[in-house]
């Protein structure tokens, strides 16, 4: 007996998964890539069409299904672009991945909040996220345990969350 495709609310899927697909696409192609939004739209359209045609059988979760479609579309996009761009110079990446005024403002606010942190928290954020040392390397550099490094990172993020909310 053939399985009936599960009931899917497509509006719900679009609302829920557009940010997730956008995140994955931006992460894979780079937020500087001008056509990342086109790729996201193509993925969402493809998902809607496939679900409507009953191609989603519920063998996996809808999340995994959309992830698979997204990954394939990204690979196709990269192949396509590689062919086209092989003979022309690489575009200069934009200096700031925060692609609109609102995100730029948010990022600036966050940067100011980080600056206001105590030196011990700023230092650990600098070494771990900016200089990309591993947790153990940060611990060695600061003469504290790796566990303490994690605690400081977590605490710094809690403080920033609080500063941004107020």
């Amino acid at each position: 007996m053939e399985n009936r495709p599960p009931e899917i609310d497509l509006n719900d899927v679009v609302v829920k998964y557009r940010p997730v697909v956008s995140f994955k696409v931006k992460k894979s192609l780079g937020a500087q890539t001008p056509d990342w939004e086109d790729v996201v739209n193509e993925v969402i359209t493809q998902v809607i069409e496939k679900v409507k045609k009953g191609e989603f059988r519920g063998d996996s979760s809808i999340g995994t299904y959309i992830y698979t479609i997204t990954s394939r579309r990204i690979i196709d996009h990269i192949r396509q672009k590689t062919k086209v761009l092989r003979n022309i110079p690489e575009p200069v990446p934009l200096p700031d991945p925060c692609d609109n005024a609102e995100s730029r403002e948010r990022a600036q606010f966050l940067a100011q909040a980080i600056q206001q942190l105590k030196p011990k928290f700023k230092e650990v954020l600098n070494l771990y996220y900016y200089q990309e040392l591993t947790r153990d390397e940060v611990a060695e550099r600061l003469g504290i345990s790796p566990r303490r490094v994690s605690e400081r990172l977590n605490y710094a993020q809690r403080l920033l969350r609080k500063m941004i909310r107020t």
């Binding site: 997730v20 954020l125 996220y129």
Partner: protein, 217 residues
Amino acid sequence: MKKCLFAEQIDDYLLNRLEGEPKEQFEEHYFNCPSCFRQLEERDALVSTIKTRGAWIFRDKPASERREWVPAWKRALASFTPRQWATVGVAAAAVLVVVFGLMTQFRPSSPQFVLNETEVVRGESLTLMSPIIDVRSVPTFFEWKSLGQGVEYKISLFNDELLWSATTRDSRIVIPEETRQRMRPGQRFAWQVRAFSANGTLIAASSKVQFQIEPAK
């Protein structure tokens, strides 16, 4: 709330330390886990900001600009001008005056005690020492706790009515023979002491203590 195991991979993913299958597993996971995705977005904002503005955030400030980090309250205090300090001092003194003023105003009053059936007064309490329990024979004296120099005590002995009354400046008084003869075994008595200051103001009163002289066998 139980923490998702994938949450520990967020930093590795954002810092491009995940490759191949673990990376794909993590990506598939955040497509299915709204909680991890929320954390991922938040952390990404932090990492992106640090990556793009790190040079500015973590720059070495010029010596003229550089300041040791001090708590906010110390910074606030350090920014006070002498005039502001003077204002704070005057305000603090005023607050102290008001507080002490109120304290004297609302000082707990002396305990209230019953002088007799109709009189209730406030003042120091006065402790009676002997006799305070039943006695085997007619007592020869009354004794109480002294309230210090210059205090006059008025002792009253009651049966059904006032049997005897006397004043003294000591904290002990001998019961006159004439009164003792009126005190019969088996009877119940009550006695009370009231203390007066030099100018005659009632300053303390004891409670009325009852005792019985045991009946003769």
